[in-house]
Symmetry: C2
Subunit: 194 residues, 2 copies
C-alpha cells in the first residue's frame, strides 16, 4: 500500500519550510493614525483566533499593544506593488495609509483597507514574547468581504486570488487550481480496508 | 495614487478567512507507536518556531504532551489521498503509520514520513490552552528534504507542490505560478515618491 520508494533526505538545519502562507496587510492605529504593515508570518489557531509574528522593531507593534486591536486585510494579486511597498517602508517615517481608502468597523482602532477584498478586525487576546518577535494572538470580531469574492456567504478563494508568500524563493505566488475535496477523497483508502 | 474604487463590503460575522494554509501530516508517538494526523491550522511565529492548532479530541495530542516532540511533514499533491485519509481516520482505532515508510531523526519520538518530500522535527516549546483546542508551539530542531525538491540548499516550492487547504471551499488547492519578487516590486512606488 505504500506509495513511492524510500528516498534518503538531506539535513537542511533548523529551516522553517512551512510555506506558502497568505500575505496580509495588518492595520493598527499608531500615534492616533492608521498604519499598515505587510505580514506573512501568520497562523490559524482556532476557527476564530489567529496569530501574527511581528519583529519587535516594527512601528505597528506599539499601536497594537496600546489599543489592543488590529486588522488583518487580504490583498489580491493585483495589489502586489502596494503590498510589497508596505513591507519595505516603515510607518516611522512614511504614511502608508495614503495608499488606500481606510475604513473602520466595530472596533474603532483597527483600520482596514477598502482595496483589500477581505478584512478581519481583531481584538488582541494574548502576546507571546519571543526575544526579537511579538506574537500577537487576536480574536476575530468581524469579517468584511466584497461581494465580488463571495459565493453566497463564503469567501471564494479562487475569486479572492490571495497573494501567497514563500521565504525560500523570496517571491509572491498565486493560488493554483482545485486538487480534491477534503474529508472525502481519502475515503478511497477507507473503502479499500487496508 | 489609490487603486480601484471604494466598494462596500458585506459583514460575514467572525469568519476566519486566513486561508489557504499548507496541509501537513503531523507525526507523534502515542502509546509507543507512530501516529499521523492531518493538520492545516498551522502558524509561523518566527524563523524557527511554528504552531499547530489541534482539537483536544485528537489522539495525537496526548502523545505530544507526553514526549514533548512532534514532526510536521509536508505532502505533495500526489499524496492527497493518503493525506486526506489521515484526516478522516483516528489513531484510536486505525494504524495510519502503515501507509508510510517512517523514519526518525535527532528526537527519537517525532516520527516522520519518507513519502513527504520535506519534514521538520520539533521540540514542544509551549501549549496554549483554548477550551476545545491545544495550540502546540514547537521549536524546529532539524529539517529534512529530498533532493528532488531542492534548489541548492533551499526548498523549491514549485518542485514541492504543497497541498494547500481552504476551509470555505473544503478543498485542497495547488500552488500557482510566481507573481513577483518580495522586498523588490514595491520599490516601484518608492521611486514614484508618493
Amino acid at each position: 500500500m505504500k506509495g513511492g520508494i524510500r528516498i534518503m533526505k538531506e539535513k537542511l538545519g533548523a529551516i522553517n519550510a512551512l510555506y506558502p502562507t497568505p500575505t496580509t496587510l495588518v492595520g493598527a492605529t499608531v500615534g492616533g493614525k492608521p498604519n499598515f504593515i505587510t505580514i506573512a508570518h501568520i497562523g490559524i489557531m482556532t476557527h476564530s483566533y489567529i496569530s501574527l509574528g511581528m519583529g519587535k522593531s516594527h512601528y505597528s507593534n506599539g499601536g497594537i499593544k496600546e489599543n489592543k486591536t488590529f486588522s488583518v486585510c487580504l490583498p489580491s494579486e493585483n495589489l502586489v506593488v502596494e503590498t510589497d511597498y508596505c513591507g519595505i517602508m516603515t510607518g516611522k517615517n512614511t504614511d502608508k495609509a495614503v495608499l488606500f481608502d481606510v475604513f473602520y468597523g466595530e472596533l474603532k482602532t483597527a483600520p482596514m483597507i477598502q482595496q483589500c477584498p477581505v478584512c478581519m478586525e481583531c481584538r488582541l487576546y494574548q502576546i507571546i514574547d519571543f526575544p526579537t518577535t511579538d506574537i500577537f494572538i487576536g480574536e476575530i470580531v468581524q469579517t468584511y468581504a466584497e461581494e465580488s469574492v463571495l459565493s453566497g456567504k463564503n469567501v471564494n478563494i479562487s475569486k479572492l486570488k490571495p497573494l501567497l508568500f514563500d521565504m525560500a524563493s523570496k517571491k509572491y505566488w498565486s493560488l493554483g487550481g482545485e486538487v480534491a475535496n477534503c474529508w472525502n477523497i481519502g475515503k478511497q483508502f477507507k473503502a479499500e480496508k487496508i
